[in-house]
Symmetry: C2
Subunit: 462 residues, 2 copies
């Protein structure tokens, strides 16, 4: 297979224009909107954008693209962070905007089926009177289809798992237009290959996800929030490690370093100590939450931690966590107009302090600034390089630092990406991470997308 | 590809005999031992059995088998329940007996890497002084490699998940002898296709698992056990549903029906009421376990349940649960010399009572006896048909009842197998369950095992 797709773009566009009428466009404005994601990666325009209403219409689009060997890239909310949805080789973007219906909710089975473009906040709003919620929270109000495609996670994966654990079944349009459902709704199954998990994280390179069945959870009786500053980074990280090791079922445990805390104070007009700080959340019964919090407070005390700012009242919880939610804007305010290049390594938790400390030493010797925020219960953290993406010197420096960080994480048996996916930005690290296993991924890609039309040029070149 | 493998068996055996000397055998006794599993499926002898010491030796065996197109079937403890390891097309069995070393344990990262033939009890014995344990418990003391291959689960999957959730990484020998590691040790990763989950549950048809990295958990501070009888089956099942819906983190919740309880009383000399009975286990802190148990007791009371027999003392816990652990032998004692044909459907929990009741109605109209035991927190239950497997009439009746049960479960959006795998016994249901998705599984099989030598004739015919 050639790396470049043999394209006959115009006849494909003509055919799609006939089929989709005003739901097909080649307007520059719309193509621009679909040329990028939220990352520092440079945009690339598609040749056209189509807005299907149904899985069957997605299948029709893919069939036309297959006939003329034109790349086809799915688009949800465009909030990916490694160029995952950038149509690098042009072609047709399938914007799933109209596929935004919640199809069913079962309060008895604690699951729901949604069209791919339903966002996580939309689903949670839809089910807010059922006493259930969908936990996976990557920060952005991403589409659930996109979250499945990138194997997203976020702040409460430490308790509720990532999209890997929370997707029960998918409807997928394959590269030749066939439509499959990957699984049924039983909580577990040993029936054949785990196609659900194969498509979760495949970033649109094997097919387009059009429907997702997800797990839901009962809203906890009580939610407690805490903020705790530490004199040392090791103290903060060791608190996390010991909390996990004791099996305390903490719902969220997030680390912000002193750079990030300074930015947050400044942006959100707060007066937290400018120290390494943990933001924590506890879910359970009243007694359970109290017990968990007391245990973690006691661990923190032994690890240079101060006294918890603590609440179980919803409004105060929101206020306490506001600082955490504002990190992106707070970081950007340190350098107005900058792009954020977010690193994303994840390491075994025993190596987390070492990995962070060595990376901060690299930063001290660099001219770049990068606040740190981490989903530290999972061993995952992000440094956000604040760069001018049009300055080759800054790009080169971010690349150098990121490469050192990734290689450090791999040497610790970690991964180059905990939750953002490979997209464009991590392709060069895939073989360093997976070795000969990449050849197996490629065999699967070739078997399922022999024309290489599904989001080509992502994850690996074929 | 032909369904039958083109074989040149003798030259392959000659070459393996030279390479493995006394670790290669064609003796009838050894071949007999490797001709079967613990199910009712009829045995089939392999042509030879080899005992490798290392992953590299497994690779060598597979290379020889590939050269001569001879089937190769991995063997752990032979405790599978759907003929999964029966060498249906002969060939070479790779008995991993010598690959029984625990390679590393990390108490900091709560994980361990073992060779495939380490059993779950062996691992737990090995780590017993670390304060950690490996939770997945399918009943049999199966090898961890075999448990990964069949996506096993068991009694405490309701809290700790199945092998799908608890395998972090695998070392796999592919069909051409290549050796890959599917993942690193980070708790989560978004780096490329999820090969770990692809091989978990692939039943040796895509490669041979030689090493497994698994998650470990802290031994709970307190474990509480309870037994509770119910006047009605609906009452017992509704207790389970409400417990799950309330998010009570129950560790085990097992249903034994009145037929099973009668068998257990008789076999284990106990005097439980001959009623539908739940066996429960609670893990947590002292306060947490007490709180959980009180909540479930209160739910049970509203659902025709009696007062808990209850203990947190280890010895009494073992005594209370003995009845549950004895179900296989208790069932067999109802009909000495019989085989047990264990059904294995799993349905969304809202349909569980209906599924069980309809199936028991079928049984009332049949001449077969089948005690019921269920991992009901997952929606998974087993009817154990007590059959003479040499009597075609009994086989036909079990087949008829099982087919009705499977079709009922599929109509409820459930699966034909919650944890035993497809093996030989469920092949005919795979398309009914997965439809066109089976074609995708087959494409993957053909891409990764083009000669169809890896455990051929399992899951689907190629």
């Amino acid at each position: 297979m050639n790396a470049a797709v043999a394209q006959q773009t115009q006849p494909a566009l003509d055919e799609l224009a006939r089929l989709f009428a005003d739901r097909f466009t080649t307007s520059t404005g719309v193509r621009d909107h679909h040329s990028k994601d939220e990352s520092w990666h440079h945009p690339h325009r598609p040749d056209a954008v189509v807005f299907p209403n149904t899985t069957e219409e997605v299948s029709l689009i893919v069939q036309v693209c297959a006939k003329y060997r034109v790349p086809v890239v799915a688009y949800g909310t465009g909030t990916s962070l490694e160029g995952n949805c950038v149509p690098e080789h042009g072609g047709v973007v399938v914007d799933l905007e109209r596929m935004n219906q919640v199809l069913r909710v079962s309060t008895d089975d604690l699951d729901a089926t949604v069209q791919a473009r339903v966002t996580r906040k939309q689903l949670n709003e839809y089910i807010k009177d059922t006493g259930l919620f969908f936990p996976v929270d990557p920060g952005a109000d991403a589409s659930i289809g996109g979250m499945a495609a990138t194997r997203a996670s976020g702040t409460n994966a430490v308790r509720y798992g990532t999209m890997r654990e929370n997707v029960l079944a998918l409807t997928v349009v394959l590269a030749d237009g066939r439509i499959i459902r990957t699984s049924r709704r039983a909580r577990k199954s040993a029936a054949g290959y785990d196609l659900t998990r194969l498509f979760v994280g495949s970033e649109g390179t094997l097919g387009i996800i059009t429907e997702v069945t997800v797990r839901l959870y009962g809203v906890p009786e009580v939610m407690g929030a805490a903020v705790c500053s530490f004199d040392t980074l090791e103290g903060a990280v060791n608190t996390v490690i010991q909390t996990i090791q004791l099996g305390i079922p903490i719902a969220r445990i997030e680390l912000l370093d002193e750079v990030q805390m300074g930015a947050v104070n400044n942006y959100s007009k707060l007066d937290y100590p400018v120290k390494n700080t943990l933001f924590l959340e506890f879910h359970g019964t009243e007694a359970g939450v109290k017990e968990q919090a007391e245990m973690v407070q006691s661990i923190a005390n032994e690890n240079t931690g101060g006294t918890f700012q603590w609440t179980t009242k919803e409004e105060e919880r929101r206020r306490l966590w506001q600082a955490r939610h504002d990190v992106t804007w707070a970081s950007k305010s340190l350098r107005p107009g900058c792009s954020i290049w977010a690193t994303d390594v994840c390491v075994p938790i025993s190596r987390l302090a070492e990995c962070i400390l060595e990376s901060k030493k690299d930063l001290q010797e660099s001219f770049l600034i990068a606040p740190l925020v981490g989903h530290v219960g999972d061993g995952n953290f992000h440094l956000g390089f604040l760069i001018n993406r049009d300055d080759p010197k800054e790009i080169a420096e971010a690349e150098r630092l990121n490469e050192r960080l990734v290689m450090r994480a791999l040497a610790m048996d970690g991964t180059c990406t905990g939750e953002h996916g490979i997209g464009l930005g991590k392709m060069k690290f895939l073989t360093a991470e997976h070795g000969d296993a990449v050849a197996v991924m490629r065999q699967i890609k070739i078997a399922l997308d022999p024309l290489n039309i599904m989001n080509p040029g992502k994850i690996f070149s074929v």
